[in-house]
């Protein structure tokens, strides 16, 4: 097992009080696996990723749980060891490629800087490796692009550069936080193909954070559905998407627009996400759930196997 998150809870301290952003989040990843973390805004997808990398803001506090990476608890590592982990073991790709690059440094220099940080090479070798890593993310004329500044590149090319940067160590785990959201559909497609290719070629595991179920269906072996900072359902992608067990997953799938029928109105999940300052006692989705029972409002369901399938787990009383 590469990564194992156990009972992770994160709180944000704000003027209005304590906001519980994550509650008892547990899941694991194997080496080389591509896992999708889906959920709407505020469901805790990004917070999960950021806590793995120790990137949480100062007002955030991990109140409970642990994150094991290759058997080591990364939340309890020393500063030096954490620094070793970042970039070399775990890489990160951000949502906006427009702002994730240093605006006044040449692409090649940025890449060479990261390469020199993680490998014992001379500046000259690093520059050559930088050009090769640009070629690996399918950028034409890499030696030309290496001499450019970020503002001279298009969004898709910038995201390729960001991926090249994140992969330059190369890491064993890549966390991608909505890497294609800011890109248009054709570029999105190319970036997804590229990430899958790199994952297969190098054996890199990818944690793909997204709100796009279509992306999950194409890319991911397994999927984790999050809602209001809790894991609702996990399983093999095809199981979860074809036989969704949780009413929230069903609602998400139902909310996908049907391209074949342009006259059909867009369906949305009624209601609002619960108040995270004051979590409900029962299931967090109960207020919006069409099948909610009285029990759902009183007691929180645990994540349990669905129809005796140990891989497919769901946190719901209505099974």
């Amino acid at each position: 097992m590469l990564l194992e998150i156990k009972e992770l809870s994160v709180e944000f301290q704000s003027i209005q009080g304590k906001l519980q952003a994550l509650k008892n989040v547990s899941f694991s990843m194997d080496e080389g696996e591509i896992i999708g973390v889906v959920g709407e805004s505020g469901s805790g997808k990004s917070v999960t990723a950021l806590s793995i990398l120790g990137l949480l803001e100062k007002n955030a506090k991990i109140t409970q749980g642990s994150v094991f990476y290759k058997g080591k608890d990364v939340l309890r590592l020393g500063r030096k060891e954490q620094q070793q982990l970042r970039g070399k073991e775990i890489g990160m790709v951000f949502q906006e490629p427009m702002t994730a690059l240093h605006p006044t440094m040449r692409i090649g220099d940025q890449l060479a800087g990261v390469i020199k940080r993680h490998r014992q090479v001379s500046s000259k070798e690093a520059a050559q490796l930088a050009i090769r890593s640009l070629a690996e993310v399918h950028i034409d004329h890499p030696e030309l692009v290496a001499g450019k500044y970020p503002f001279e590149l298009s969004g898709g090319m910038r995201q390729r550069v960001v991926i090249a940067l994140a992969m330059s160590a190369p890491p064993t785990l890549l966390i991608a936080d909505e890497p294609t959201t800011a890109l248009d559909v054709t570029i999105q497609d190319e970036i997804l193909k590229l990430m899958k290719e790199l994952s297969v070629k190098r054996g890199t595991a990818i944690m793909f954070i997204t709100h796009d179920l279509g992306v999950v269906a194409r890319l991911c072996n397994r999927v984790i559905v999050m809602y209001a900072g809790e894991v609702m359902e996990t399983g093999i992608t095809s199981d979860v998407l074809h036989r969704p067990a949780h009413p929230y997953t069903r609602a998400l799938i139902g909310a996908l627009p049907d391209w074949a029928d342009p006259n059909e109105p867009l369906s949305a999940i009624p209601g609002e996400t619960p108040n995270l300052f004051n979590r409900p006692a029962g299931c967090v989705f109960a207020d919006r759930c069409p099948q909610a029972l009285p029990l759902c409002r009183e007691d929180r369901p645990a994540l349990e196997a669905y129809q005796d399938n140990q891989e497919h787990r769901v946190a719901c009383w209505v099974r």
Binding site: L53, L55, Q83, Q84, L85, R86, G87, K88, I90, G91, M92, F94, E96, T99, A100, L101, H102, P103, T104, M105, G113, V114, R117, H118, H138, I139, D140, H141, L144, V145, K148, E152, L153, S154, G156, M157, R160, V162, L165, A166, S168, A169, E190, K193, L194
Partner: protein, 289 residues
């Protein structure tokens, strides 16, 4: 699969910086005045037959004439020559003081802002202490404590200028630290030292540069002030403040003696301020005039 590389063609147009500079007449005036002073200061040995410290008592208190453009002082030294040698000193020191304060202050501010926490608190409180004193009084106190000479005057002015740069660089660093590319560098495992020197400081220097150009005029005035009070350059060094300090006693009888060094001081600090204003308008178009 391959991607079309869309590269922007290289453009060669009129340098927009120079265009803006030219559009601002006052800045141009400042630039011309300063260039004039600087050129005179550089070529003064060729222009003037006199030496700045050679005493020639016979010609004491000669009024301005073709022979002595700005007249002579109480021991017959040519005031024009002394002013130009003084320009070397004043301009050089003004620039040196502000540049060193700028470099040191930026480094401290970037470190303070990037790491935050206790280091930040300690550094900023120290800076607050320095800022709490009226700058001139503190400079005088430091210069007087260290002993009245030119180098100590420079040190004193640099010390009182540093906090301004620390604050500027720190504020800029706090904003930059939240930028995605700085966070990205962090997730790539780049070391803090490299993030500060390569990611933060190059992108935080704009306000520092503006402040440097605005501060040089002020620093020149301060050097002269300390000289005037006897805490800076010591006679017979041809320093403007020191010259005025001796000369003002003779203002009523020999008006040229304190007037011309004062005028030079006015022109130089004014020139730097005008250029500073111009550079601020160019680098920071959003700032209100």
């Amino acid at each position: 699969m391959s991607v079309q590389t869309e590269l922007l063609p290289a453009k060669r147009t009129v340098n927009p910086l120079w265009y803006k500079f030219r559009k601002n007449p006052l800045t141009l005036v400042g630039l011309v005045v300063l260039l004039f002073i600087i050129l005179l200061a550089i070529f003064v040995p060729l222009i003037s037959p006199y030496e700045p410290t050679k005493i020639h008592v016979v010609e004491r208190f000669s009024p301005p004439s073709a022979k002595h453009l700005f007249g002579t002082d109480e021991v017959g030294r040519d005031i024009f020559t002394r002013i130009l040698y003084g320009a070397r000193l004043s301009l050089g020191m003004g620039v040196a003081v502000v540049l060193s304060a700028g470099v040191i202050g930026t480094a401290i501010g970037a470190v303070s802002g990037y790491f935050g926490g206790r280091i930040d608190q300690i550094i900023m409180r120290l800076m607050d202490i320095v800022l709490a004193f009226p700058s001139l009084v503190l400079a005088m106190a430091v210069a007087a404590t260290l002993g009245p000479n030119l180098f100590n005057a420079l040190l004193a002015i640099a010390i009182i200028k540093v906090p301004v740069y620390v604050r500027l660089a720190r504020a800029e660093t706090l904003a930059l630290r939240e930028r995605l590319y700085v966070k990205a560098a962090y997730t790539f495992g780049i070391k803090p030292w490299r993030i500060i020197t390569r990611h933060i400081i190059p992108n935080a220097v704009t306000p520092v540069i503006i402040q440097v150009t605005l501060d040089i005029g002020d620093a020149i005035l301060m050097v002269a002030t300390l000289g005037f009070l006897g805490l800076g350059a010591q006679p017979p060094t041809p320093e403007w403040g020191a010259m005025i300090s001796v000369g003002w006693k003779y203002l009523l009888d020999y008006w040229w003696y304190p007037t011309f060094p004062g005028l030079a001081l006015f022109l130089a600090s004014c020139g730097f301020n005008l250029i500073g204003d111009g550079i601020r308008d160019i680098l920071d178009p959003k700032a209100n005039r």
